[in-house]
Symmetry: C2
Subunit: 253 residues, 2 copies
DNA sequence: AAGTGGTCTAGACCACGGC
DNA sequence: CCGTGGTCTAGACCACTTC
């Protein structure tokens, strides 16, 4: 108990009267993250050692250690035995689930989209199946033509369960990211997406919309986007001009 | 020191005289892994609690805890506060770097390949560039026609630095997985691969080899495979029949 | 109340890398 | 040699879940 009296004393001194404020190791992480985000610490710079952190934050070695160990798991720092802990080089985000808008923003481009279609449908049984819904469920269906640099680029059709997203039909889908609307207005926490990729030939309609010859090869991506809890939220069927789009993924052994 | 005498005593009892045998938390992990692999423990089954493991293996709570925590990071178990630790359901391996042979084996199919070409070349500058080598480097070049269920399926061309893999030309590439040869005979530890995926149309030669009409859409995958240390080892250019192949990836938010 | 995982202490020794 | 991270102890209290 002597142990814990001392711990209470130190926690007291820092932030909390209630024992259950924010765990100490998370406070330490926040402090380090802040110094990295604010540019005080750059990639390659040393982070205070476990022992220093323990002194600075008035915690035991194990706690400081825990803070650094999970920062390493996140890829924010690298630890080298006998040497120290260092800010990790900025990581390229492979295989990250991003909206088209976010992808463009990541490359400092602006996204453009023209809504071709936005209605409720009830006989698209393949789309319903992808969302794990009964075959004739009411679905919101948006069809959008994506642009980049003034050129048509991709045709994407999105499907959502109409019952779960009332009012979404009236949202400014043409201007605002669908992801942003789902997360902000409907409090959906997006988690992951499974994608099936194959190649197909442009049919006459798609060829005209994308301004390419008929039978031109296209990348076809069928994407089912799930919430963090694993519930199917959104099905997107996309056709991408293969001369303007190329999918990059990283696989690990 | 009283503390550490006790620890030495327990380590002694189990495996080691030398203090630096295998860390206790790793021994605990091995024991659990073994019980899962051998079928003694099935997905959903409870794993002994931290306190039980500590007693069983004569270690402190923190050590038992460490063992379970890193097993959870690996995805082998799931921990639920107030409930316990349970064997995780077998995970589908998304975005895993696997050889064609391994992919087929995962689906209990046998892989077939016919070697069309196996020589050293020195004027394939694109391939050399992908491997971060000078433009006219000597490269091993293999061209293989993949089969599945008796049907031609994909055309893959592999390039490696000739200087680093002497004797590989004589290896039984037609029968044994290239990955296996690299890992076993050349002690290369494969780490990850970056892939570029797009769609293209079959040219006359590919159309004939794959037994499909000319201009048929194909999936084209350019894959650079790196060692665990980040060195480019292998460049694979593949053309896949889109009616027989479809690429599945998972993205996370 | 009992049992679980989550956080934490105040130390210890070991293995490693640079001086 | 000294400082770093890696492993470990023998406890403690908290938060949560089930009974």
């Amino acid at each position: 108990m002597a142990t814990n009296k001392k711990w209470l004393a130190s926690a007291d001194r820092l932030t909390a009267r209630i024992p259950s404020a924010v765990p100490a190791y998370q406070r330490i992480q926040s402090a380090i993250r802040k110094r990295i985000d604010s540019g005080q610490l750059h990639p390659g710079d040393p982070v205070p050692s476990e022992r220093d952190l323990a002194k600075i934050h008035h915690v035991s070695l194990m706690t400081a250690r825990h803070a650094l160990a999970s920062l390493e798991r996140e890829g924010l720092v690298e630890r080298r035995r006998g040497i120290g802990t260092f800010v990790a080089p900025p990581k390229i985000h492979f295989n990250k689930l991003m909206s088209y808008t976010e992808q463009m923003a990541a490359r400092s481009l602006t996204a453009g989209a023209k809504v071709l279609f936005a209605k409720i449908v009830d006989s698209e049984n393949e789309a319903a199946a992808r969302l794990s819904l009964p075959p004739t469920s009411s679905l919101l269906k948006f069809e959008r033509l994506r642009h980049a640099a003034g050129e048509p680029f991709a045709l994407e059709t999105c499907y959502l369960n109409a019952a779960e997203f009332p009012g979404l039909l009236d949202a400014p889908i043409g201007r605002v990211s669908l992801f942003a609307i789902l997360e902000r207005d409907f409090h959906v926490e997006l988690g992951y997406a499974d994608e099936e990729v194959d190649a197909t030939a442009a049919d006459p309609r798609i060829a005209e919309l994308l301004a390419i010859p008929r039978r031109e090869p296209l990348l076809r991506i069928r994407q089912v986007i799930y919430s963090a809890k694993g519930k199917a939220i959104l099905y997107v069927l996309g056709f991408y001009r293969s001369d303007r789009h190329n999918l990059v993924i990283r696989r690990f052994r």
